[in-house]
């Protein structure tokens, strides 16, 4: 199928982009998620505002113990090491398993997060890393914790006239332990359950269970999970409603494997 007709806008300034979006335009980044929806006419925006030419849209800046990753940074760039340090290693490994390389070459971290497909990788991983979303609206920048950014299927904490400008993630010590496990029936397929565990010395371990058709489930203190993964995984998954027995089992498995990975 071909998309329904739409207009194309290429804002050069963030303020211009925000105006377009506020007026109902759909923001477009790499369009690797939006493209299929357009082609199936499941999404029929009047205008697409192409964010790819905005200043500082892509790229990574290190400042004061924090890494600021431009929303337009592609998965491929992250896979290839655009993010430095221990967190870069973690993110590169995640990026490598997003869809396929040609998709990663155009798809962006911000686009994926703002699209808010519950099965998407950054939707699961970024809350575990404990970062901050940098939104930009008519009144300038606003900071939102990534743990509460995705609210539901295709639903985020962004206001209708806001755009995701960047994500900030902490610089992690080399000793930070990370476990990540997702279940896909095929390489590149959307996950049926994703779990992540981050354990930084001196801080409470954090875990996320995601890709269960709703917003990611953030466990701010995952100490109990690390202590008794079998029992705790079962308890946590039992709190998620509407899962088939198979998805429950896969979700529990995901949590257990993520804990093993972070050991």
């Amino acid at each position: 199928m071909k998309p329904a007709a739409f207009d194309y806008a290429r804002p050069k300034e963030w303020s211009e982009a925000v105006k377009l979006v506020g007026a109902g335009a759909r923001a477009g980044a790499g369009t690797q998620s939006l493209g299929p929806l357009l082609n199936l006419r499941l999404s029929q925006p009047s205008t697409i505002a192409d964010l790819r030419h905005l200043p500082n849209y892509a790229g990574v800046i290190v400042a004061g113990g924090v890494l600021r990753i431009g929303a337009g940074t592609t998965h491929a760039a992250i896979e290839d090491g655009a993010v430095p340090g221990r967190i870069g290693e973690i993110m590169a490994a995640v990026a490598r398993r997003i869809a396929y390389r040609p998709v990663r070459n155009r798809g962006t971290i911000g686009g994926s997060l703002a699209h808010a497909d519950p099965a998407a990788d950054w939707v699961a991983v970024l809350p575990a890393l404990g970062g901050t979303a940098i939104a930009f609206g008519p009144n300038g920048e606003r900071r939102l914790p990534l743990t509460g950014f995705v609210l539901g299927i295709f639903e985020t904490a962004l206001a209708p006239d806001e755009l995701l400008r960047a994500v900030e993630v902490p610089v992690l010590p080399a000793t930070a332990k990370w476990g990540h496990w997702k279940f896909c029936r095929k390489v590149g397929e959307f996950s049926k359950a994703t779990a992540c565990v981050l354990s930084v010395p001196g801080a409470k371990p954090r875990a996320v269970l995601a890709a269960l058709d709703g917003p990611p489930l953030v466990i701010e203190d995952a100490s109990a999970l690390l202590a008794d993964p079998v029992r705790e995984a079962s308890r946590v998954v039992a709190t998620v409603e509407g899962l088939s027995p198979w998805r429950r089992s896969v979700a529990e498995t995901a949590l257990r494997h993520a804990v093993e990975g972070a050991a």
């Binding site: 199928m1 071909k2 998309p3 329904a4 007709a5 299929p36 199936l40 006419r41 279940f183 029936r185 095929k186 390489v187 590149g188 397929e189 959307f190 088939s244 027995p245 198979w246 089992s249 896969v250 529990e252 498995t253 257990r256």
Partner: protein, 778 residues
């Protein structure tokens, strides 16, 4: 029959002649072809599975660009009747008349300068319909009180068949009896290229030229001429490069009828290209079988009898030419497989449901039947506490019985069936699997053995009652003045490598270098009539026809060559592209012979055959009951008991396709079939909800096996010649797709045996595998 001494003929793994154009992006598929003034078509399709259609409101201002059945009078109805007694006839209008019988059925054609604009028109139409209860489950289709799809029928079934051997005494004498209820899922054949049609009317020739992605251009021509009310000579079908067929493109399409009608009405070329959404949502059309199978065996595993109740979901209409009951009606005859079976009782139903009409997918009914039989055999073996190999050895037709006529009258031509299993058994590491099982690993080994009837002809299909019975396959060969050989065939090459293998056949007979052989196919104006490429028939039938035509041409070439050499006809041979004196080295090339016929006829002998250097010859094996290739598949599978995921660790195929015309290409056919069989076994499923809505409309939902999902299979060949074919070759194109579901699920069930779990339904998705495990733990 060899005139080739350079190893490029039959049996050589010659590189494919067709590769160069594809590797450079120079293939020509329907979607690559445009015409000046061409219009694009998008179809308004049924959004519901079952409804009474009251009317269509066209978008305001676009009334003349949207065409319903009423706007296109004179289009014939598609009817594919079977001669089998009791067959119920369906009438499929090219555009819906008053009833909608499956999601995706064509309602109106929308015409515009671009596909996108045509889709805008379709989106702007309003439908008025009254929803009727949908029949989405074949098991309830024939239940009392079910809504009737075709209201003049007495029940939702195209056909029932019965074979009634008396199995009532088997309970008393059998050492073991098992009954299994098994199901395979509806699939989409999903060739990478969808269907596509470009229709144009040539006023000079008064001819409808339809460029269409089809496996059987001549059958399409006949069917289309009939539906358009034209002479067959007024329809020309061109089938250019075709991006995969697998059975999906062996059909007369309603879209072809509509596009042709529109092209004539509008006086402009009209094109429709199927997209993936259409393909998945409107045309998932194969493989959905349901079995209740009971088998009895003696202590040593010898089968005493089988009883089978089979339903095949045939969808809403009977497609042309193969019809709605090709699969179900064959179940009984395929069930004995490669085994000696004394008794068979079998009842089949071709159920009519609110789903797309069934088409035969690579392997046709065999994939489902092999799955049912092979998993049931393993269940018997477990019950008898013998190995899966042992139960097969106890029943496989032995080589000394060949040719063997089984209880349903199939005649196996040649082969050593047990040897294929012995080799597979040797190649797969059973000991290591048993050791790992003992250590508690959920890993298993599975086998499937089967045979594939291919290239069967008139006698078989006449008995099956299909509207198109294949007869003698023909080829036209002619030498051009420069000595190039043109080989014209009515079969179609869409991946099978026939541009290469048929060149090899011609080379084998005439010795002309394969590069100097030009295989012409895919155009009804240029090729002899043929039922086309299906049923694993082209290598045997077209191969035989080309060989025969070349053999006859060789006689004429020899006569002219002998005259040029000034010796008697009997004193020359044709070999290596030359006519050579038997007693010496002097020779003339076939090019010299061709030049003489066309350009220097003064040098021809006075008794020259005035037919010249062009011959059409026909071929049919005798007997024409078909070749039987066969194979043993062996697989090691590991099951994750937490997620239900199945990983194929090792895969072995031992295959006997008789003489391999081109071993490299045969390998490719088997490997490609295997990938599709793995799809059937583990991934592919088009679920429908209770309202008959398809639930997998993209390739993100309908999972096709990818590069990580197909193991690096080990493939061994046996080459037992068929006594009935030109070179001893056997049909083998579908074979790879037949064995995997049975072998893989047997491996899974072997792995799960310690838990007591068994998988019954395909595909064996993680969810189904885990459900089987959980059912045992409760």
């Amino acid at each position: 029959m060899t005139a080739s001494s350079d190893g490029l003929g039959v049996g050589a793994s010659l590189r494919r002649k067709e590769d160069a154009r594809f590797l450079h992006g120079q293939g020509r598929f329907v979607g690559d072809i445009t015409r000046p003034g061409m219009l694009e078509v998008a179809f308004l399709r049924s959004p519901v599975a079952h409804a009474r259609l009251r009317g269509v409101t066209k978008p305001a201002g676009a009334e003349k660009r949207v065409f319903t059945l009423d706007d296109l009078p004179g289009m014939g109805t598609i009817r594919a009747n079977s001669a089998l007694p009791g067959f119920r006839v369906s009438e499929q209008p090219a555009l819906a008349k008053d009833k909608l019988r499956h999601v995706g059925e064509l309602i109106a054609a929308c015409v515009a300068e671009s596909r996108a604009a045509a889709e805008d028109l379709a989106a702007g139409c309003e439908l008025d319909y009254e929803t009727l209860p949908a029949i989405s489950d074949m098991r309830t289709a024939t239940a009392p009180g079910a809504a009737l799809l075709h209201e003049h029928w007495s029940m939702n079934a195209f056909l029932e068949t019965r074979r009634d051997d008396d199995v009532s005494g088997l309970d008393a004498i059998a050492a073991a009896k098992v009954t299994r209820t098994l199901k395979t899922s509806r699939q989409s054949m999903a060739p990478l290229e969808g269907r596509g049609v470009l229709a144009e009317w040539d006023p000079r020739l008064e001819q409808m030229i339809v460029t269409t992605s089809t496996q059987m251009p001549h059958v399409t021509k006949s069917g289309l001429a009939d539906c358009l009310g034209l002479d067959e000579g007024q329809v020309r079908i061109v089938s250019p490069d075709v991006g995969g067929g697998f059975g999906y493109k062996g059909i007369l399409l309603p879209e072809e009828i509509v596009c042709a009608t529109l092209a004539r009405k509008l006086g402009r070329p009209v094109r429709w290209l199927e997209d993936r959404f259409e393909q998945l949502s409107a045309s998932a059309n194969c493989r959905e079988h349901h079995y209740v199978l009971t088998a009895w065996a003696a202590k040593d595993g010898k089968l005493l009898g089988v009883e089978c109740e089979a339903i095949v979901d045939a969808g809403a209409y009977s497609s042309y030419p193969f019809g709605a009951c090709l699969e179900a009606a064959q179940v009984g005859s395929i069930l004995p497989g490669p085994y000696v079976l004394p008794l068979l009782r079998c009842h089949t139903v071709s159920a009519c449901t609110n789903k797309p009409p069934i088409l035969p997918y690579r392997g046709v009914a065999r994939t489902g039947v092999c799955y049912a039989m092979e998993t049931t055999l393993d269940a018997l073996a477990r019950k008898l506490k013998i190995t899966p190999q042992a139960i097969r050895f106890a029943n496989l037709v032995p080589p000394e019985a060949m040719p063997y006529r089984n209880l349903v009258g199939k005649v196996f031509d040649s082969g050593d069936y047990p040897e294929s299993l012995r080799r597979a058994e040797k190649a797969i590491d059973i000991a290591s699997v048993r050791k790992r099982q003992a250590a508690g690993e959920t890993v298993g080994v599975g086998f499937a053995t089967f045979c594939e009837q291919g290239a069967h002809g008139t006698s078989v299909y006449h008995a099956w009652g299909i509207p198109f019975v294949p007869g003698y396959e023909q080829s036209s060969v002619r030498l051009t003045p420069d000595g190039v050989l043109e080989v014209r065939v009515g079969v179609h090459n869409h991946g099978q490598g026939m541009e290469t293998t048929l060149s090899q056949v011609a080379h084998e007979v005439l010795g002309i270098h394969p590069d100097r052989v030009r295989v012409v196919h895919g155009d009804t104006a240029l090729t002899p009539y043929s039922t086309g490429t299906w049923g694993s028939r082209a290598g045997v039938m077209a191969g035989g026809a080309v060989a025969e035509a070349c053999r006859q041409l060789s006689v004429r070439v020899a006569a002219i060559g002998a005259a040029l050499l000034q010796v008697a006809k009997d004193d020359v041979v044709v070999e290596d592209g030359k006519v050579r004196r038997k007693d010496g080295d002097s020779s003339v090339s076939i090019a010299d012979v061709a030049r003489t016929w066309y350009r220097a006829p003064q040098n021809l002998p006075p008794d020259v055959d005035k037919g010249g250097l062009e011959i059409t010859a026909g071929y049919r094996p005798d007997p024409d009951t078909g070749t039987h290739s066969y194979a043993a598949h062996a697989v090691v599978a590991r099951v994750d008991t937490d997620t239900g995921e199945v990983v194929l660790e090792d895969y072995v195929i031992v295959e006997d396709g008789g003489k391999l015309l081109n071993p490299m290409i045969v390998d490719g056919q088997v490997l490609g079939g295997l990938a599709q069989g793995i799809g059937t076994a583990l991934y592919e499923e088009m679920p429908y909800d209770a309202d008959g809505q398809p639930l997998a409309a993209t390739l993100a939902d309908y999972l096709l096996p990818g590069s990580t999902d197909v193991p690096d299979v080990r493939l061994e060949h046996m080459e037992t010649l068929s006594p009935w074919t030109t070179f001893g070759q056997k049909g083998i194109g579908e074979s790879g797709a037949i064995g995997p579901p049975g072998a893989i699920v047997n491996a899974i069930n072997d792995a799960l045996a310690r838990i007591g779990a068994e998988v019954m339904d395909l595909p064996a998705t993680p969810e189904r595998v885990l459900a089987a495990i959980h059912a045992c733990r409760k």
